[in-house]
Amino acid sequence: MIPNDPVTEEIRRRQRGRAVVMALALGAFVILLYLITIARVGGQG
């Protein structure tokens, strides 16, 4: 097995970090959209 060079390792670490943050942001957005829908529908009811 050939060890990765430090630059490749760093790229992967950054990509992983961005992917995690993006996933959390998208998850939060879905929950927020759901709550907005409930709030708006409730307001009209």
Partner: protein
């Protein structure tokens, strides 16, 4: 990171922290606070989820404007000590990445505001972002010492957006709050630019102290502080806020004027001797927090 050399840094994707830095989180806190106060001062109460979303949109919109500002001003930022460590001049992010992030965040914040609250608030948010980017950053900042006077309007929008999110319209009180921040911005930034004058001069930014000198800037600070203090108190005699707000606005305005007077009589040209300017700059932030906090407290306690 030790093994990653400086030239290789440009080839790396930016870290998520750099995208956060691009939104100028510290500036955002004042924007969020004034937006929240504008919303809480409104006669209509929003559902907590919608209120949270509106504030989130104001914050994201401010972040988008900041990111686009950093995209456009990367060359200037590289020349100033205060801004050289920002993600683009420091080589941690490409300009393209900042542009894409800024445009994406701006569009997202406006659409989400429209969906969650109303399209009038979304339109005002869009205008504030576009004003900051096109009028202040691209058009005025490098051309005229009045950059901060006209461009300062961009930072005056948040209470208006907060109010609009709650009510769907603009009324006299949020317009007065707009005027207050509009008049507050020049003394705030000119106090700062007096003691970081060399930074602006090196970067070729025509800030007032660079173009007209310290004396003229100090006079202008005083000239703006007077109507600013009056605009701060105005909601009380106009019956738009109660006596608690009136007393707080009067006291804070008086303190602002006294500090401006100390700046006016200061003859120093070296930053080390510019204590009054530094004090005024620090107090100006406290002033805005105080006056908006008093507005909300007045409404909550006195109705």
């Amino acid at each position: 990171m030790d093994a990653v050399t400086a030239p290789a840094l440009h080839a790396l994707p930016a870290e998520w922290r750099d995208f956060v830095a691009l939104t100028k989180p510290r500036v955002m806190s004042l924007v969020v606070f004034t937006g929240l106060c504008g919303m809480l001062a409104a006669p209509v109460q929003l559902h907590p989820v919608l209120a949270f979303t509106a504030i989130l949109c104001i914050a994201l919109g401010a972040g988008a404007a900041a990111a686009l500002n950093m995209w456009y001003e990367a060359d200037l930022d590289a020349l100033m000590k205060r801004t050289a460590a920002r993600p683009i001049p420091a080589g941690r992010m490409t300009r393209e990445a900042a542009l894409q992030f800024g445009v994406g965040l701006g569009v997202f914040s406006v659409v989400l505001m429209g969906v969650a609250t109303n399209w009038f608030a979304a339109a005002v948010l869009a205008v504030s972002i576009l004003f900051y980017v096109f009028v202040y950053t691209i058009w005025l900042k490098r051309r005229t010492p009045q950059n901060i006077v006209i461009g300062g309007a961009a930072g005056a929008f948040p209470p208006l957006i907060g109010w609009a999110a709650a009510t769907g319209q603009a009324d006299l009180l949020p317009l007065l709050l707009f005027a207050l921040i509009f008049l507050w911005t020049p003394p705030h930034f000119w106090a700062l630019s007096l003691f970081v004058r060399s930074d602006y001069a090196n970067a070729g930014v025509p800030m007032l102290p660079v173009v007209a000198g310290a004396r003229a800037t100090r006079v202008q600070i005083m000239l703006y502080a007077l109507p600013m203090a009056a605009a701060g108190v105005a909601p009380w005699p106009l019956g738009l806020a109660g006596p608690l707000y009136g007393a707080a606005a009067g006291a804070l305005g008086l303190a602002f004027l006294l500090l401006s007077l100390r700046v006016l009589v200061n003859r120093a040209t070296e930053p080390a001797a510019m204590k009054p300017e530094k004090r005024l700059f620090a107090f100006s932030i406290l002033y805005l927090f105080g006056i908006f906090g008093a507005l909300v407290a007045d409404k909550a306690l006195l109705g």
